[in-house]
């Protein structure tokens, strides 16, 4: 009895039922060689390479950013927030000008808004994505997201105040973002799955991830 085609297939994958027969039978050896020839050629077929940046896009969707040095995480938002505060106060305190005066340098709040807000939105989006995609476990440690949200709340308030005056169209997104960031900032470090689910539903109901992403993209386009 010669090996069937199914048995030859098993032999190819290292599960030959009768390896001794295959070694000693010329007919089965020839049939095996023909099958192996084809399957070996199939092995050599390579699909296209994965698109560039695919892993990065997956990580972004999961809200898994590249780790940044601590100084950068703190310094950049703090600098932007400080500049914004100065610009905001300048705008508020500058008296109505009666006569033309020579102004050597003025920081425009609108310019700072456009310069700093995209990064702020990106960081906020990462926090939201991390929470939206977090694993379903009975209790989840969200201390990192909570701390990030706490950092973001203050600068978000400043951007919101500036936006009210300079770019009214952005106001709604920043207001909703403010509410959610505040909620996250006031959440305990460990959250129960039911509470996390409720938070996720609120983020989804507001379509906040999408809206933040759209605003961020618009602002980045303007920068270009």
């Amino acid at each position: 009895m010669h090996l069937t085609e199914d048995e030859l297939i098993l032999a190819y994958y290292g599960e030959a039922p009768e390896p001794d027969h295959l070694a000693g039978c010329a007919e089965c050896t020839a049939a095996y060689a023909r099958l192996a020839n084809l399957l070996d050629r199939i092995t050599e077929t390579e699909p296209p390479r994965a698109p560039a940046g695919l892993a990065t896009r997956v990580n972004e969707r999961l809200g898994l950013p590249l780790p940044q040095p601590r100084w950068r995480r703190v310094a950049i938002p703090a600098t932007i927030a400080a500049m914004l505060l100065v610009a905001f106060q300048l705008g508020r305190l500058t008296p109505v000008v009666q006569e033309p005066v020579a102004v050597s340098f003025t920081i425009s709040p609108a310019r700072i808004l456009e310069a700093g807000l995209p990064d702020h939105l990106e960081r906020s989006r990462i926090v939201l994505a991390q929470l939206a995609n977090a694993p379903s476990v009975p209790e989840l440690d969200i201390s990192i997201e909570r701390q990030l949200a706490e950092d973001l709340v203050e600068s978000n308030r400043l951007y919101l105040q500036t936006a009210v005056r300079e770019r009214p169209g952005m106001e709604a997104v920043l207001e909703d973002l403010d509410r959610v960031l505040l909620e996250v900032a006031h959440t305990p470090d460990t959250v129960r799955s039911a509470d996390l689910e409720a938070l996720r539903r609120r983020i989804e109901a507001l379509e906040l991830l999408f809206r933040v992403k759209v605003l961020e993209s618009e602002l980045r386009l303007r920068q270009e």
């Binding site: 994958y13 099958l35 399957l39 050629r41 994965a50 695919l54 977090a134």
Partner: protein, 185 residues
């Protein structure tokens, strides 16, 4: 990046969730290859890669360490691919799958390119289950038991799927590529 998959999974489970990005970077290419062979196009394959890692991340607590992370992620990828193909199949209202064209391929393609092209199109002749079982066995080296577990089949049904897949591929490919030497380029 020298840490094992198990170490990385343990760190994610311990709360260092950013470490999951290393697993994504390590496995994206392999998952993409499987997804591309399952679906036959890059856009769908990319969607499957995204969905696979999203499910893996959310369900990491279900991962049992007696199997490798690779086996587990392939299992998810295969099921994501099957879900997408089933959804497509429903949308198409039972239209026949794209069959392998008998028209000659452009002469400018080398023999190996022609073979690759015909092979990828031949995969459409297999049922979704046959395709998944064959790809996991042939390209990813999964055992019958692992494939059976991944696709929720018996070992016998898994073997039969692989047998049928190989038979169909032979019928589609051998008439065009009967060669005496194993490598022709």
């Amino acid at each position: 990046m020298g840490e094992s998959d198990r170490d990385l999974v343990a760190q994610v489970r311990a709360g260092n969730r950013a470490v999951f990005r290393h697993l994504v970077e390590r496995w994206t290419r392999s998952v993409f290859r499987l997804a591309y062979r399952m679906t036959g196009n890059e856009a769908d394959a990319e969607d499957i890669v995204q969905e696979t890692f999203l499910r893996a991340y959310r369900e990491l607590h279900r991962y049992e360490e007696r199997s490798s992370f690779g086996t587990w992620i392939y299992r998810i990828a295969a099921n994501c691919s099957l879900d997408l193909l089933r959804a497509r199949s429903r949308q198409a209202n039972g239209d026949l799958p794209e069959l392998v064209s008998e028209s000659p391929l452009p002469d400018r393609l080398s023999m190996s390119e022609q073979f690759r092209d015909r092979f990828h199109r031949s995969l459409h002749l297999l049922t979704d289950q046959e395709r998944a079982a064959f790809l996991l066995r042939h390209f990813e080296g999964q055992s019958i038991e692992q494939i059976a577990g991944a696709l929720d089949l018996s070992a016998t049904a898994t073997k039969n799927s692989i047998f049928r897949a190989v038979q169909k591929l032979r019928r589609a490919l051998e008439p065009h590529y009967i060669c005496t030497s194993p490598k022709t380029s």
